[in-house]
């Protein structure tokens, strides 16, 4: 199988040549910037809110083990089950076991990126279980047999006529390009799926540790139905999603909605605390929470990059990233796309195979500026590069920078290099026309500037001489 880098380059070539799709993504995000900025004004001070959020996440992660223990005790005290999964396979096995033990044949799911991370649907389907995604975007992606394009807007790249065709082919719907009608078609189809499901799987946007709750943010109400209709509600969530207190949601819920979707607050925010009991007849018969590590604790141990675990997956960094907007989410080949994905994937899945993501950024910093919980994303991408270069330096770059340092350590040589460069400029131009060379990367689509007649140092020296003669 080809390497992640080879696949990435091929996907990038494909995506960047699709100008219509790139324009579509730019246009789709245009409205988001306006509503995001408008809703930031609902905060008395957005910058202070960011600081406060970062501080709260810092506090949560510093006490992660304790917070998770309190959380699990609370859930278990109410008759729920909590399972700590170190690896994706442990998480999958637990979920498969719950399904098996309860004779589960059909599952309804709401949006859960953690399940993408562990390839849960494949495992459930292999075990003969029907799994249906109920979030409209995820439902569309499931029919397209494609992973999410964006971890908040899974099908943002799909045009409505494509959805029309997709629905006609897969769920035999009528021919319509009307978004409201298309939504109704999906809704009608999904209603029966909720009723038939033996188990509902959701993710969680927050683990409210000390109150023993999970909090789910959504706009479609599909998560509430997925949690409420089936007899079993299973939550799959990464361990880092902790906030200590219920009142912390007063900040995080509007912040997530504003940064992520440009909304003051999402349509539904629901907290779940356990199964039904004799005193409390609401809720599912069984309530399971699977807490996934999958190398998050390794990232926690990295003092420099631990703040990457602050992420609440709002997607704000993707929405402003010029790389994401031009290459699209599918090119990354990762569960989490965009700047935050490029930052955490080398930590979670290994620097060796995923370092190219840290390099596929101009480090423009738009992500860091957008991040509501103040993750230093672009600086961390640079530090990822440092880690990669330290771990396995490239001989080519070592040589380039050796030459670079040698020339730049000798100003006279540097001045001479300028003169030589000017002389051999036609050669350089020629070299720039050879595909495959490093220089061609730039000159392939751009023209090298003509060298100036004289260098700055020559002109400055001349200027000083004249200056002296005047005096």
């Amino acid at each position: 199988m080809s390497s992640p880098l080879t696949r990435f380059k091929a996907a990038v070539a494909d995506a960047t040549s699709n100008e219509a799709r790139r324009d579509f993504i730019y246009k789709a995000l245009g409205g988001y910037y306006v509503s995001r900025d408008k809703n930031k004004n609902n905060f008395r001070d957005w910058q202070k809110a960011r600081e406060c959020a970062a501080q709260t996440k810092y506090e949560s992660l510093n006490n992660l083990a304790e917070e998770l223990e309190i959380f699990s005790k609370k859930i278990e005290g109410r008759g729920g089950h909590v399972f700590f999964a170190s690896t994706p396979s442990e998480a999958r096995e637990y979920i498969l076991k719950v399904a098996r033990d309860n004779g589960v044949k059909k599952i309804i799911k709401s949006k859960c990126m953690t399940s993408e991370e562990i390839h849960l649907n494949d495992a459930l389907e292999a075990a003969g279980t029907e799994v249906v995604e109920s979030d409209l975007g995820e439902f569309i992606q499931q029919l397209r047999k494609e992973p999410p394009f964006h971890f908040v807007f899974p099908c943002m790249h799909v045009k409505r006529d494509e959805i029309n065709t997709l629905f006609q082919e897969n769920i035999h719907s009528r021919d319509t390009n009307n978004p409201a009608e298309l939504t109704m078609i999906a809704r009608e189809y999904l209603r029966q799926k909720y009723i038939d499901a033996d188990m509902g799987i959701t993710g969680a946007n927050f683990i409210v540790a000390r109150d023993g709750m999970i909090s789910v943010t959504e706009n479609e109400g599909n998560s509430r139905l997925s949690a409420a209709m089936p007899k079993i509600h299973l939550v799959l969530v990464g361990i880092e999603k902790v906030v200590p207190r219920l009142e912390d949601l007063a900040l995080f819920l509007p912040m997530l909605a504003t940064a992520g979707a440009g909304q003051p607050l999402t349509g539904y925010n629901t907290q779940y605390a356990g199964p039904r009991t004799a005193e409390n007849p609401d809720g599912p018969e069984q309530f399971h929470v699977v807490l996934l590590d999958n190398n998050r604790t390794q990232l926690l141990a990295d003092a420099e990059h631990r703040d990457a675990l602050h992420c609440m997956r709002c997607g704000a960094c993707l929405n402003v990233c010029p790389v994401f907007k031009n290459i699209g989410g599918l090119s990354y080949g990762t569960t989490y796309q965009g700047p935050i994905g490029s930052l955490i994937t080398p930590h979670l899945r290994g620097t060796k195979n995923w370092q190219h993501l840290s390099y596929s950024s101009s480090l423009c910093g738009a992500c860091t500026q957008a991040c509501p919980v103040k993750i230093d994303i672009h600086d961390h991408l640079l530090e990822n590069r440092r880690n990669a270069a330290t771990l396995a330096p490239s001989i080519l770059w070592k040589m380039i920078f050796f030459g670079f340092n040698f020339i730049f350590a000798h100003p006279k040589l540097y001045a001479l290099t300028f003169k030589i460069a000017k002389k051999i400029n036609p050669l350089t131009k020629l070299a720039g026309k050879v595909p495959g060379t490093l220089l061609y990367g730039w000159t392939g689509t751009r023209k090298l500037p003509e060298p100036p007649k004289s260098s700055f140092r020559e002109r400055f020296a001349e200027h000083k001489k004249q200056d002296l003669s005047v005096r």
């Binding site: 790389v323 738009a366 640079l382 920078f401 340092n405 100003p411 689509t445």
Partner: protein, 221 residues
């Protein structure tokens, strides 16, 4: 030379230590910090005695003010790096924030749009300075582009490592410049301008690139 002219007109003595070469950003940016430290250390030595360091580049200045902090964190040179950072200024920020000058008596009768280079904008927080200076240039009409704050796609070695992404980014940038109908695009950084200009020249597009210092040094003909 535009920078030198302006600073001298304002009565400052400009010194150019001939030993200076590169700030070390290319290796730093590529992850080769050991190599970057060599260049950075030279700069620490060379500029040790300077009163104020001014550079007409958001990118190099951000490296000296911010990048050196990363490179020398926890080393014996940390204090020196901090001292250097404190006396180093991007050209427009030096004029506006340190000297309090906005009107340089410049004239440039053209329609101009401004590209906010990433380092200047997001690391140095330079935005209003360039506008304040350009507002005082006689005859200059500034037309802001919708993608003013978007990266031009250069990113140093990024542009040769991932040329397809880099080119896609400069395409978007240039489309936004063209929308304004400006004759010139200007910026704090020669590197962004080289990237934008290189693409524009290749495509034969109807605008030119010019560094902001050159506009500010322009006088009435």
């Amino acid at each position: 030379m535009a920078c030198v002219k302006i600073l001298e007109r304002l009565g400052h003595k400009v010194v150019f230590p001939e030993r200076q070469t590169c700030c070390g950003q290319p290796p730093h940016n590529t992850g080769y910090w050991k190599e970057a430290r060599k260049s950075a250390l030279r700069a620490l030595d060379i500029f040790e005695d300077a009163e104020v360091i001014v550079g007409p580049s958001g990118s190099c200045i951000a490296m000296m003010k911010d990048g050196y902090g990363d490179l020398f964190k926890g080393t014996e040179h940390e204090t020196r790096a901090k001292a250097l950072a404190a006396k180093t200024f991007e050209f427009t920020q030096f004029l506006v924030n340190k000297l309090g000058v906005t009107d340089l008596g410049a004239a440039f009768p053209h329609k101009v749009t401004f590209h906010d280079g990433c380092h200047g904008l997001r690391m140095l927080k330079a935005k209003h300075e360039s506008r304040a200076l350009l507002a005082k240039v006689k005859g200059l009409e500034l037309v802001e582009m919708s993608e003013a704050e978007s990266c031009c796609g250069f990113g140093g070695t990024f542009s040769v490592k991932f040329p397809k992404i880099s080119t896609a980014m400069v395409e978007k940038k240039v489309a936004s410049i063209l929308e304004t109908g400006a004759e010139y695009v200007t910026s704090l950084d020669a590197s962004c301008l080289m990237n934008i200009g290189g693409y524009a020249a290749r495509e034969g597009l109807p605008f030119k690139t010019i560094h902001i210092a050159e506009i500010l040094a322009s006088q009435e003909a």
